[in-house]
Symmetry: C2
Subunit: 203 residues, 2 copies
């Protein structure tokens, strides 16, 4: 036993994250364990704790990667749309499609909660903010007369909404879990919200 130095600290981190992603993809949060991840990369549990503070930190990093993937998918969706409503709808559909095809990875984003006092680190929130900025960008062309603050609030309200639809539908709490019906729900949410937002009142 003892020293091996087959891999650098960073390499071990990377391997662990990749292994954790695979376990989560296959078995969800419930199937994830430090021993399982360690075994998958050919190291002992102890080594994992040399490289991550604890399991929560590891999961946080898996989640940031998921946010990055989501962001990329949404950016891609923006390349095939014309006009503001079309673009917001495209973002919504891309989001729902990702959630549907990567259920476990996506669920981990919201099933995992940090222990009581601990708050979500800044670099994590920045990634969430980046996602909202895509929505703000799509909203901007239809909101000349509005302040950045208003657009920011609208993007958060609307996107949290899309997210809520995805959660209830995909975790089967609505009794209507098909991708089509989720799409119908998000489309309804987005179309009606935008009608109100672009129209008279707003607020």
């Amino acid at each position: 036993m003892g020293r091996r130095s087959d891999h650098s600290r960073d390499e071990i981190r990377e391997m662990a994250l990749a292994a954790a992603e695979q376990v989560v993809a296959e078995q969800g949060l419930a199937g994830l364990s430090a021993r399982k991840v360690a075994g998958a990369i050919g190291y002992t549990v102890g080594t994992l704790y040399l490289v991550f503070d604890n399991l929560d930190e590891l999961i946080l990093h898996v989640n940031v990667r998921t946010l990055d993937e989501l962001h990329a998918v949404m950016v891609k969706a923006l390349r095939r749309c014309r006009g503001p409503e079309s673009c917001v709808l495209a973002l919504g559909r891309a989001y729902v499609r990702y959630a549907d095809t990567h259920r476990h990875r996506w669920s981990l984003l919201f099933e995992h909660r940090l222990p009581e006092g601990q708050e979500v680190p800044e670099w994590f929130r920045a990634k969430v903010a980046a996602m909202f900025e895509l929505v703000e960008g799509a909203l901007a062309p239809m909101s000349d007369h509005r302040s950045g603050r208003e657009i920011g609030l609208a993007a958060r309200a609307l996107w949290s909404g899309v997210h809520g639809v995805a959660i209830l539908a995909l975790t089967d709490k609505l009794g209507t879990a098909s991708v089509e019906s989720v799409q119908a729900l998000t489309d309804s949410l987005i179309r009606n919200y935008l009608a109100g937002f672009a129209g008279a009142g707003g607020r």
Copy 2:
């Protein structure tokens, strides 16, 4: 040891549920364990399994009670509103207020997931449906020309949206966790959605 018969099966179930509620309220899902619940009611772990299939079933019943409380709170909110928009807003605010003041109980509703193949039982989904029916009822006065199916879809889209706002905001993923800002977000979501829904298009 052996027989005691201090309490009937149903009494033990009731005591266990009450104890579980308290543990969850204080320490969240992560703090909940079969041994802890059993200890709190003065029985052994084994007894808990005589009365519940497993921990998942116990949690499911805690969650149904939460849905009942939420329903009651929303019904109460409907007593102090005039006109459709006012009533939907009242429902939204009641929901957010409940989520905020009972964070752990409310979080349990969505943090807890049944093991892979198992689906949410019918009696559970019925309770979720009952919540949506309250929203449908509030929506009805502003949708004479719409079918029940359309109203149902609108209620689900809108309410899932309110729920998503509450999740992201209260689990601190938005970086704006104050109750006021959550209220502002839900108000924005509801007002704009209703403007679109009541207005011309809809669809």
